[in-house]
């Protein structure tokens, strides 16, 4: 008698290096049902969910510690300042920056990139200078540089990628020349999941004397990142993609760069006829943090870093790798489903297309099955153009996702195919 092997039995045997069920209990939102189905939240590349530990920290800050920072001598202002600056120190250790003052709070990755465009690009780049980006960039690492090019008469050069979504390093090396002033590249592609060989790319740029900005929005939540080991000049990431609050992000910059950069925004209600006092300007990171910052969000980001560190970024990367392998096998095994992004080194992002069905129809029907995926161009239209599609559906995983949720996704795609068959 022949045995019938269910797909479930074919799963890889996963020895979870951490207690997944306990971790899931940390995330109240994961208990929700959508259309009567358990929520399978697979839109983590857009924004990740927040654990109770961070929620509790936000409430504690707001109920017991809040006042404006760096302002007053009263107790609450000191408590708030300590929490705000304490979070900066946590972030510094998390990405292994040399000094706390190299950690600048921003509104997010986009804001961090714009800060460098204004403070570095507008100050130091001129006509004929070149900025190198890649085919895999999110719009937030293209548009600011296009704006700079339009203003200064600089040129944008683009590192192409192959059919797997892997950047062509030979082409990259050829793009670097005497006019190259900055390389701005994503660590991990948000649309395809490709992990770029950042260390090697940074070495190549530095060999030509070119500084490198890394868009780390999709890397920091999913793998250990060490800015000193990378030797990057700037590294940008967002709180909300790593289970922290929205409205807070980080620009890491080498102190030598930050020191000589122009401030991005004028602070407070300063008067135009008065030059800012030198003391307001010359201390980093504060010269880039004009106005009252999102204090609670910064404190929450500190708690997020503690939470992720307790689980361990290596453990997170290992579990997400299992999820990606299983999802790639199960979704990729469905007839009529094409996966975009097949680089050998990938983060847990699965961009796909169901033959004959527009991604938005896929997304709407998956939602009925409780499965939250992103559909569209993922703010990466050049990636879509490279693969000749207007949009894809994208499942993106976090360490709190389960193999059952992958099965739920697969069942949803089967339903899509049945409806449109």
């Amino acid at each position: 008698m022949s045995a019938v092997i269910s797909p479930r039995a074919l799963r890889p045997t996963v020895q979870a290096p951490f207690d997944l069920q306990r971790i899931r209990k940390d995330f109240p939102i994961l208990e929700l049902t959508v259309h009567g189905k358990p929520l399978a939240y697979l839109d983590n590349a857009a924004s990740a969910q927040m654990p109770r530990q961070v929620l509790d920290r936000l409430i504690r800050y707001q109920t017991r510690e809040h006042a404006n920072v760096h302002r007053a001598v009263h107790t609450l202002s000191e408590t708030a300042t300590a929490a705000y600056e304490g979070a900066r120190a946590k972030v510094q250790r998390f990405v292994n920056a040399r000094e706390e003052r190299e950690i600048v709070y921003t509104r997010g990755t986009t804001d961090a990139i714009n800060l460098v465009m204004h403070g570095y690009g507008r100050a130091f780049l001129g006509e004929g200078d070149e900025v190198v980006v890649s085919q895999l960039e999110h719009h937030s690492n293209i548009v600011p540089w296009r704006m700079l090019c339009a203003e200064k008469g600089c040129k944008l050069r683009v590192i192409p990628c192959d059919d797997r979504g892997v950047l062509l390093l030979d082409e990259y090396a050829r793009l670097l020349n005497a006019r190259t002033r900055l390389v701005a590249v994503t660590h991990v592609s948000n649309a395809l999941g490709t992990v770029n060989p950042m260390k090697q790319m940074i070495e190549l740029a530095h060999a030509c004397g070119v500084p490198v900005l890394v868009d780390g929005a999709q890397a920091v939540p999913h793998m250990p990142v060490d800015v000193q080991a990378l030797d990057c000049d700037f590294y940008c990431f967002s709180g909300h993609k790593m289970c922290g609050p929205t409205g807070i992000g980080i620009l890491y910059g080498k102190a030598e760069h930050l020191d000589r950069m122009q401030p991005y925004q004028g602070g407070g209600d300063m008067i135009l006829s008065v030059t800012f006092e030198k003391t307001t300007y010359n201390a980093i990171p504060y010269k880039f943090e004009a106005g009252t910052p999102p204090i609670a969000a910064a404190v929450g980001l500190g708690a997020t870093v503690d939470y992720l560190s307790a689980i361990g970024m290596d453990n997170i990367a290992a579990w997400e790798h299992e999820l990606l392998a299983y999802a790639t096998e199960q979704v990729g095994g469905l007839p009529g489903v094409r996966i975009f992004g097949t680089a050998p080194d990938k983060a847990a992002v699965l961009s796909f297309e169901v033959a004959g069905v527009h991604p938005h129809d896929v997304g709407t029907i998956l939602n009925e099955e409780g499965v939250a995926v992103r559909t569209g161009h993922h703010c990466a239209q050049p990636v879509m153009q490279r693969f000749g599609v207007p949009a894809t559906a994208r499942a993106s995983f976090s360490f709190y996702n389960t193999l059952d949720e992958v099965d739920q996704l697969v069942a949803g795609i089967r339903r899509v195919q049945k409806m449109f068959g």
């Binding site: 938005h360 029907i365 569209g376 207007p390 949009a391």
Partner: protein, 161 residues
Amino acid sequence: MDSKQLYQEVILDHNRKPRNWGKLEDASHRAEGLNPLCGDHIWVTLKVDGDKVEGLAFEGQSCAICKASASMMTTNVKGKTIPEIEQLIREFREMATGRLDVAREPNHLGRLSVFAGVKDLPARVKCAILPWHTLHAAFQRQASISTEGDADPMSLNAENR
């Protein structure tokens, strides 16, 4: 709402076999419609005699909701006058945005009311409206419209212009 209510057989059928697909060579009016967020991109061509639409066709790349909406639009407006069609465009838009309850209020939508459920899927409202918006643009001799920016049919500005 359940997507089954929206993805009814009639919509799936028009998606599979769109009616009046293509381009009219002798068109008197034409317009291009783009929904940049989705990537829906359609062209509508029509032949108007006096104020009567004698023929129309559409083609492009779009999701099922947009394609079915366009297909059913073509079958429903052919032979009607521009004022009658403008009335339908208004009613369709009001239905899709939840301002017209087709079950309770008088209207001329008929079978087009299968799209009523789209009002519960805000992200998909523009998909359903795009063909109608494009047809309106063609009447206005406007070459191209987008569902975003100033031309956004969902925008509050659209009401105030």
